[in-house]
Structure formats: C-alpha cells, structure tokens
C-alpha cells in the first residue's frame, strides 16, 4: 500500500506540471509577462500564491507558464539522448568487433567529460537559445543511453530466442527490430524517465547561467536566477521555483525506479 501510495504521490507533481504546460489558463489568471509595479515584491498570500517579483509579476503565474518551456526542453533533451544513444548502442551491440570498440571508446571519452562542460561546449558551437540548450543537454546524455542500450543488446543477442529467430530464417535487421530492440528497451525507458528529471535540472542550470531562454521568458532556471538578487529580502523568488524543480526531479526519479522494477 505504501509503495503504491508513494508512486501515486510521485505521479501527482508530474501530472500537475504537464497540465500547467497544456492549459496554464486553468491554474492562474495573472499575466506572466506584464507586471503591476504597485504590487512588487509581495510575500506569498492568498492572492499571489508564490508572491510577486521586482516588477510586480505574479510568480505562480510565471512558474505555471514557464513549465511549458522547461518540459519541452527536457522532452527534446531526452528525445535526443534516447534516439541517438539507443541507435549507437544498438549498432555497437549488434555489430560487435571493431565497430563496437570504436563506438564504445568514443562513448567512454564522452562519459569522461563532465556533463555541464559538454553541454556548454555544444552551446558555444550552436549558440544560446531554448532549443539549443535542450539539444546540448541531450547530447550530454547520449553516452549514458548508448552504454546502457549496448549492454542490454549484448545480453539479448546472446539469448536462445534471438538465435532461434535467426534459425527461423530471420534477416539481420528484421531480428534486430522484432526481437532485440523490444527486449532491450525496458531499462532504457527507465533511464529516460530518470534523465527527464535530470534534463529539467540541467536546462534550469544552463538558463540560470544565462545560456538558455532570454528574459522575460518565464523559464524555471531563469526565474531562480532572477530571484537571486533579492535572496536576502524576498526568499520566495528563488525558493518556490526551486522547490517546484526539486519536486519534479524527485518525482521523475521515483517513476523511473518503478519502471525499472516493473521490468
């Protein structure tokens, strides 16, 4: 009961954030961009759940409207990592030999570079911007996906049913598609859920550093960064968006774990 309870509790923030992204109007009536200067820097209250910022914008509205940027960013990042990483892993694991060695040594090099540094390098190549940040974070996770999917592919390729599929006259690509890929994906999907949380964190970090969305876009990392100047007087400007990020990242981790156990 408690195990399921925890899982339901973990799905809740994720569902809520997705709803925020899809229909922000349902959750807040305030404009996330235009502020009311007279109401600046108000503490959280019934009117302004998360308080207001230095130009009198409702912070809760900015968090709600910002979710679409953070979520699509994380989604793109995970998609890039998942697709590119799984293809590389599938290639390396199924081809074997020299190709396997070559791909996996490149992956080793990628894994040896700190993720943030790698993302920054990619951003310098691509230029700043929401989508570019997402791609940069995705590139950073390619190595992890590649390594995991390769190990799964190597495991599945050794099974009797894959041999039996070749024995039934299956062609290489058909067997790969019909047997190897579906049976390798389980742990990869669980990693994707985990990476989703990590991507939100990484994108927020890069936005915080000023490489992502441009102000006044209400992106979560940017919100935290903007609130930094008022940390001494207005704690809610950094703390509450930060708490939202923490909740979503933790929830994604919990969901990922349940996916893995399900496998």
């Amino acid at each position: 009961m408690t195990r399921w309870g925890g899982l339901v509790l973990a799905w809740f923030p994720i569902a809520l954030v997705v709803l925020w992204a899809v229909a922000p109007g349902l959750f807040t009536g305030y404009d996330p961009i235009a502020g009311v200067p007279a109401e600046k820097l108000q503490a959280p209250s019934a009117d302004h759940l998360f308080g207001t910022d230095a130009v009198g914008r409702d912070l809760f509205a900015r968090v709600v409207h910002g979710s679409v940027h953070s979520l699509t960013g994380a989604f793109v990042a995970v998609a890039v990592g998942l697709v590119a990483g799984t293809l590389l892993g599938l290639l390396a694991g199924s081809a074997g030999g020299v190709l396997d060695d070559a791909v996996m040594r490149i992956v080793d090099v990628l894994l040896s570079v700190p993720g943030l540094l790698l993302a920054l390098t990619v951003i310098i190549l691509l230029g700043p911007g929401t989508v570019n940040v997402a791609i940069a974070v995705g590139v950073g996770s390619v190595a992890a996906f590649a390594r995991l999917s390769r190990s799964e592919v190597v495991r599945v390729r050794r099974t009797d049913y894959v041999e039996a599929a070749f024995g039934s006259g299956g062609r290489f690509l058909a067997v790969l598609w019909r047997h190897v890929l579906p049976n390798s994906l389980g742990p990869v999907i669980a990693l994707a859920a985990l990476q989703f949380g990590m991507a939100i964190l990484a994108i927020s970090t890069l936005s915080f550093l000023g490489y992502g969305a441009e102000p006044p876009t209400p992106e979560w990392g940017l919100l935290i960064s903007e609130g930094r100047n008022y940390l001494a007087t207005s704690w809610w400007l950094t703390t509450l968006p930060g708490a939202v990020v923490v909740a979503v990242v933790l929830a994604a981790g919990r969901v990922s774990r349940s996916l893995r156990r399900h496998e």
Partner: protein
Amino acid sequence: MSLLEVCDLAVSYDGRRAVEGISFAVEPGEVVAVVGESGSGKSTTAHAVIGLLPANGAVDAGRILLGGADLATWSSKRMESVRGAQIGLIPQDPSSSLDPVKTVGAQIAEVLRIHGRGDRRAIRRRVVDLLARVGLPDPERRARQYPHELSGGMRQRVLIAIAIALEPRLIIADEPTSALDVTVQRRILDLIDDLRAESGTALLLVTHDLAVAAGRSDRLVVMRGGRIEEQGPTKQVLASPAAGYTERLLNDAPALSASAFRDPPDGAGPAIVVRDLVKEFKGFRAVDGVSFEVTRGTTHALVGESGSGKTTTARMVVRFAEPTSGTVSIAGAGEGRAFRRHVQLVHQNPYGSLDPRQSIGDIVEEPLRNFRLGDRAERRARVLDLLERVALPQDVLTRRPRELSGGQRQRVAIARALAAGPEVVVLDEAVSALDVTVQAQILDLLEQLQRDLGLTYLFISHDLAVVRQISHTVSVMNKGSIVESGTTRQVFTDPRHEYTRELLAAIPEPAL
C-alpha cells in the same frame, strides 16, 4: 521415536497454499525419498523442515518434530542452532551454492567456526579430513582452491563436506545430483550412501528422478500438487503402486520402462553426412574429428557428458558455428537462408528460446513470415494446423510464453521448428529440462511427427534412458571424439568401448 516427524504441515506463499496435509516420518539412519514433478511442493516441504522458506513463505499449520522439539514454532534465530548441527543441507546447484570469492577450505571452516568447534588449528585439520572423506584427492591443496577451480562434481563434494561437517543426525539433499553428469551423479550418490552408512545419519532425499529415488531409498513419499499422493516402503510402492499417479510416474520414467528398441529401416539414403568435423577454440579442440551419418527418416543420437563436444557438433550441423575443418552435408538443403527452411534446431531450454514479448501465434508464424509463405489467412490457418499437430489448444494463440508450462512451451518451440516444413530437425537436449511425464509426452509427439512427416532427427542428449527410447542409431562422444557408434540395440546391449560401459552402468536403476 522417529528422528523427524512432520504432521499435517501446510505452507503458503503470499497467502496462497503451496503444500497441505503433509505428514511423514524419518527414522534414524533411514533414507526417505520425496519424489514429484516440479511444482509438486517437494522442495517447499524440505525447506520448511530446515526453516529456510523464502521471505514470502510461511508455515500455516502443522508440526515439524525433530527429536520431540517442534521446529515449526521456533524463531529463525533459534533455528540457526539446528541448521548444520542437527540438520545438514546439500543444495541443488553446486555452481551457485558456493561463495566464489572464498576458498573452499574457508567455506567449510565457516560452519565449524560458527558452531564453535575447536580453535583455528583444529578446524584446519578437520577441514582437510572432511575433504579427504568426501573423496577429493590432494585435500590440502583443494582447501586452498576457489570454487571456479573445481568441476561440478568436486563442488558438490565440497557441499557435502559442509553438510556433514558437524555430523548432523539428518541430512536433507535437495536434488543433489540433478545438475551433474550421470557418471558423476552415480559417484556422488554412492558417496552419500557410504557416509550415511558410516555415521548412521538419516537422509531426506528430494528428487524428481524416480530412478534415483527407487535405487537409493528405504521409503518413498510421492507428492503431487502440494499433497502427498502415496507413501510407503520403496519396494512396495514400486511393485504395486496404490495411486494412479504413482503408476503413471513409473511408466513415464524412461529408465524404468524397458521399451522396445527402434531398429533403423533399410534402404533409405543418408540425410546428414558429417565427415572429420573439427572445432577449435583458441587452441582447445572441442570437437576432434567427428564423423557420422544419419539415414533419412530416422533418429540419430549424440550422447555424452557435459564438455564432450556434442552441443558444439550440433551447432555446426545447423550452421550456428563454423567448423575449423571437416564437412557437414545435408541432402537437399540449400545455401544461406534456404538452409534454414530445410534444417531446424530446437533448443534445450523452452524458457529461453521463446521471445517473452511475442504471442504464441506470432512465435509460430515467424518462420512463415520470414520466408514469405502464403498470405495472412493462409499463414494463420497453418499456425492453427501446427498447434493442433503439437496438441496445443487454440486458445494459446494470443497468450505469452510465460503463461504456459515448460512442456507447452517446448511444444510451441517444436511447432515453430516445423512451420517452414523442414526435413531435418536437430534437438539439443530438447527434453532435458522437462518433468518425466511431460518428457514422455514430448518424446511420443516427436515419434509421431517423425512417422507423419518423415523427419530426420539429430538428437543431442546426456540422458541414455531417453536416447534408448527415441533413437535408431547412437554415437557416444567423449572429450570431443566419437568413441563408439552403431544401432541403439548394439550399443546398449553389447557396448564395446570402456566409456560406453561406464555410462550405461551409471544409469540409475531401481534395486527391485
């Protein structure tokens, strides 16, 4: 008073009853065999006695009396004083029951240390004694070796040494030889017998192998579906089984039923010709100059123990492995993918050879799709026809492999192998993972399919009793070479080679 008395025992897993109403007794010095198929509850019963049920298992009712004390009510902490000291356990799988990072000497010493038997020097002496007693040559050196340096039979001897270290009054042996080759199996069973005779220890032998139970036990407990079907003195149960189920078990056990030999028919040409086949792995010759022929429409068996090269030979015949030298020619088989239409392999383990994500219908249809045979409706009709041939109900079509029993899965694997209409089927230990009753059914099915479709079988097995029943001709393999071959009748009634004689002598037969 009985040494062990189990009264009306009931055990459940997660609230589901696994065994119920189990009552039997073991007298001092007696051998009681608990036999049954997988899922009959025999291992559960044994684990309940020694208090080693998994975390989701619980004793619901009944008493387990060891010398008058009721173990069922004891805490797991208190059971620690009984395990090893009063009840020894010989586990099933020697390859996973030893700690790979400790020397075997240290593992035997651990039992003695935990129960405080002597100081370090005394324990070391005792370890060497024990290793010598279970028949390991050069015990001082063995004590310093790690499990991976020993063969399966040697590891099982180490486990026996651990079980007898504290001279318990009762030893529980849970399928002690199932993972071992027949010749090794016999030596291990002889060893257990000798040790028992010396020290007067009682033995509770849990086994699926009725022949082993029949030859080694004083009394027999036959279990089925979590209940005791029949029990009594072994000779009496074997001579006049009271329960119908026991009778069926006796009939299905291949070693116990001396069926007629299958003599090869005259006149047919060879379907498989293997000449001077050699396979080397990094300087090691796994297969060393193997030659044989299989007549069309007959079954040829390759018999041998693990490591004899029989599976490697089979893999070269189906072209899953390249021979280092030598040839395999299969009459009428094409090249490349066409070869796969003609020659099919059935794997040993039906739990691993079916894709867990596919439905049974998809699995059987796969060869038809691969070879583009027929349109959708024709393929579907063919799948239904195949399922009927292997005697599976139609409603398995949409089910997944995990919803099927081992025997049903092997039928699915056979249906898949037959789908594209092959003429040669290679069966690699295809019935070894199955219970005797299921095994007998699959063997019948294979025979019938051979008659109906004119199939040629290459049957790989370590089990001589099964081979005797199904094959027309036999080749006996040892260390990569064929030491003897001929018709099954010749080889079984008049073995010429020393190794064949040893193998035949090792087949467990009941002392009737």
